[in-house]
Symmetry: C2
Subunit: 179 residues, 2 copies
């Protein structure tokens, strides 16, 4: 779900993946290692959490899940069941001049222009060679190229204890102790 | 929807507000200027956008809207209609050591412990004296005190052109040009 530093490109050695792409019908629609179609309706999915990457990225992420993913998160169910899909909506992390004027200081950052949207689609058979997850990356609606897509799995594979998923679920604030 | 710097406390002069609190039935349940009950089900609402405040706050926000609010945002409808509710879920903005280990550099920030949840509830009659919006702030499930709550409206009132709402809607990344 994360964009990955270029240094990790060298580690991109996803071999032998033979899975097919996600399709709305649940059937493969073409041969591909990766997710090549945007899952419909993802902008309406529920919130998993938020994230912010600095380094060379300067991105804000809103991480959303379909109903299967949200249910698994809330029940603490690992590995995620087939049908779970996680979406990371990425935007530039930019200062908000209009907010800062009101606050009287530079403190406010908001989601700037959208940059890309990424998906993890769980299908333990179709994507067996990449930990049961199909990875997708779309910029201006177009899938990422082969070289970029091959960086996803080696990085996510390092989060084995949470079924290759970086993002933890953000609980509702009133249910916690807060501080 | 934003937490407000203490310097703005001095500007807290919300006079004469006579509105009542939000209730699930839509009827006032007690006399109050502010929202004193957490709207049910808000954690399932759809995403408006994300935000990040530095200065003295170091907070991450996920801003969600109920169906009325999301529809108004998508249609660009201002002022927001009665029934719209906007929720800002706040968390500590903290570095993620586990992510940084994978990335091999310090670049990743995630939602840490929840801090508070804030609401704006649109009811143009009930909250007529505060621009038609009732403001709510809850920490550990308990409403903010009178002094804190009186800081909300004067700050939001400076965003008159967008009906007192700071947060802009984050479009789905594939619909934009990206970059």
């Amino acid at each position: 779900m994360k964009r990955i530093p270029l240094s990790l490109l060298a580690a991109a050695t996803v071999a032998g993946a033979v899975a097919s792409t996600f399709s709305g019908s649940g059937r493969p629609n073409e041969e591909s290692t990766f997710v090549t179609r945007i899952p419909p309706g993802y902008r309406d999915w529920r919130l998993i959490s938020v994230a912010h990457e600095e380094g060379d990225l300067h991105t804000f992420a809103a991480v959303l899940g379909n109903d299967v993913a949200i249910k698994a998160y809330r029940e603490g169910k690992l590995p995620f069941p087939d049908g779970a899909i996680i979406a990371a909506l990425h935007y530039r992390h930019v200062p908000s001049e209009e907010n800062n004027r009101v606050f009287g200081r530079s403190q406010s950052f908001v989601a700037g222009p959208p940059t890309n949207v990424q998906f993890m689609v769980k299908d333990s058979k179709r994507y067996a060679s990449t930990g049961g997850w199909g990875f997708g990356h779309f910029q201006q609606g177009k899938p990422g190229d082969e070289a970029m897509m091959q960086t996803c799995f080696p990085c996510h594979a390092q989060i084995r204890a949470r079924d290759l998923v970086f993002t933890r679920y953000a609980p509702p604030p009133q249910s916690s102790e807060g501080k």
